[in-house]
Point group: C3
Chain length 158, copies 3
Amino acid sequence: MKVSPEVREALTALMAEYAMAIDEDRLEDWVELFDERCDYRVVTRENVEQDLPNVLMWCDNKNMLRDRVDSYRNVNEYNLHYDRHVLGPLVFRDHKSSVWSFDVAYSLFQTTLEGESRLFSVGRYAVEVVFKDQEPFFKAVKVIADTGLIPSLLATPI
Amino acid sequence: MKVSPEVREALTALMAEYAMAIDEDRLEDWVELFDERCDYRVVTRENVEQDLPNVLMWCDNKNMLRDRVDSYRNVNEYNLHYDRHVLGPLVFRDHKSSVWSFDVAYSLFQTTLEGESRLFSVGRYAVEVVFKDQEPFFKAVKVIADTGLIPSLLATPI
Amino acid sequence: MKVSPEVREALTALMAEYAMAIDEDRLEDWVELFDERCDYRVVTRENVEQDLPNVLMWCDNKNMLRDRVDSYRNVNEYNLHYDRHVLGPLVFRDHKSSVWSFDVAYSLFQTTLEGESRLFSVGRYAVEVVFKDQEPFFKAVKVIADTGLIPSLLATPI
C-alpha cells in the first residue's frame, strides 16, 4: 500500500527510537513509546506458522511493560551484554480505523563485555500504531523471531 | 544524486516488499514486482571486479522468473529454511530515460527449522526501476554477492 | 525530535553514500563527504561508558583523513577483504546552530577473498552534519563500536 513520505518518516523515526532505546539501555524510554492499552509479545515463527499458542513473552498493557522493566532493573545490577538492532525499511500493510499496520525486518546482535559480537536473533516486527495529538504510539508489537529464542525474566526486550 | 522524498519512499517501499516477499515465501508476489521485460541475475563481486562472465543465476525475462518459482515449488514440498533480509538505505545513481538506478546493501540470514540463525550472504543489489501508471517495476536486479555463493535449482532468490 | 521528510532524505542519502563509498573501496570519495573542519574518530562503547580517553583512530581535520587514505593506498596494493555495511534508520537528536545531530546503528561484515563472510563489527555512528550551499557535509563522525576492535594503520575506516 502507498503512504506519504510524512507517514514513513514518522513511523521510521518511531521504529528507530524503539531499537536505539533498547540498545542504549533506556528501557524506561522504550516503554513510553507504547500506548496505555497495548500488546507486546514475542513469538517464534515456527509457532506462528503452525498456529501454536506458545508465547515467549507477553505483556497485554503498559503497566505490565513497566513491571517487566522494573524487575529487569532489580535483577540485573549490571548490563550483561550490549544489544544492537539493525532494522530494515518498513513494509506497510494497512491503515484502518486510524491504526497503521506495518512490518519491519530486524537483525539483533549481542556483544559480550569482553567485546565479542555475535548474531543473536533475526525476524520481523508486526506493528500497529496510533497517533494521539499527532504523536505515534505502539498499540501492538509482535516480535516474530525466526531464531528459536528462549528469553527469560533476565532478558531485555527484542 | 538528489531525489525527492516521494521517490525515495516509493523505491524504498518496493525494495522492502522485494525482501519481505522472499522472506515470507511469497515468491509469486516477488515475481509480480518485475516488469515483463526484465533481467534478474546473481553474480559474485569477485567476478564483477575481474570482469569474468560467470553468472550464478540468470533470468532475462519475467516468464523465466515464473518458471523458476514453479520449479522451486515442485522440488521443495516443504520450506527447508527461513530467509531474513535486512536492507540498508538506497544509494541513488542515475535517472535517465525514465529509468531510476540505485544500489542497496543487503544482509541475508538463514534460520534452520531447528531455530539456528546464521549469516548466509552479504552484498548489494544494483537495481533499475521503471514506473508504469505510477507503479514501480523492476527492469533489472543484479545481485552482487560479496559472499562466494553456490546457489542451485533448489535455492530461493537472494 | 521531528524532522521533515526532506531532511531525512538528505541525511539518509549521505549515510548511504558514506557506507557504499567504503564498501566499494572509493575511500577518496568518502573523504570528500567531510567538511574541511571535521572530526572522525573510532572508540569502543566500553570506553565511552567508562569515560576512558582511549581512541582507536582519530583524525581532527580533513587533511588527516586524506593522509590516512593515502597511506592506506601505499601500504595495501591489493584489497585484503571486502567490507559491507548495513545501516539502520537515523535517530535524530538535535538541530542547533545549523548542525544536525543524529545516530545510526550499523552492522559491518567482512568477506575474505575466498568468499567467506563474517560479522566484523556492530555499533553506532554519532554524527554531526552541516549544510553548505544546500549540500550536507560531516562535521563529526564518532564510531562507537560495541565490538572491541583493534584497528591499525592497515585498516579501512568503519
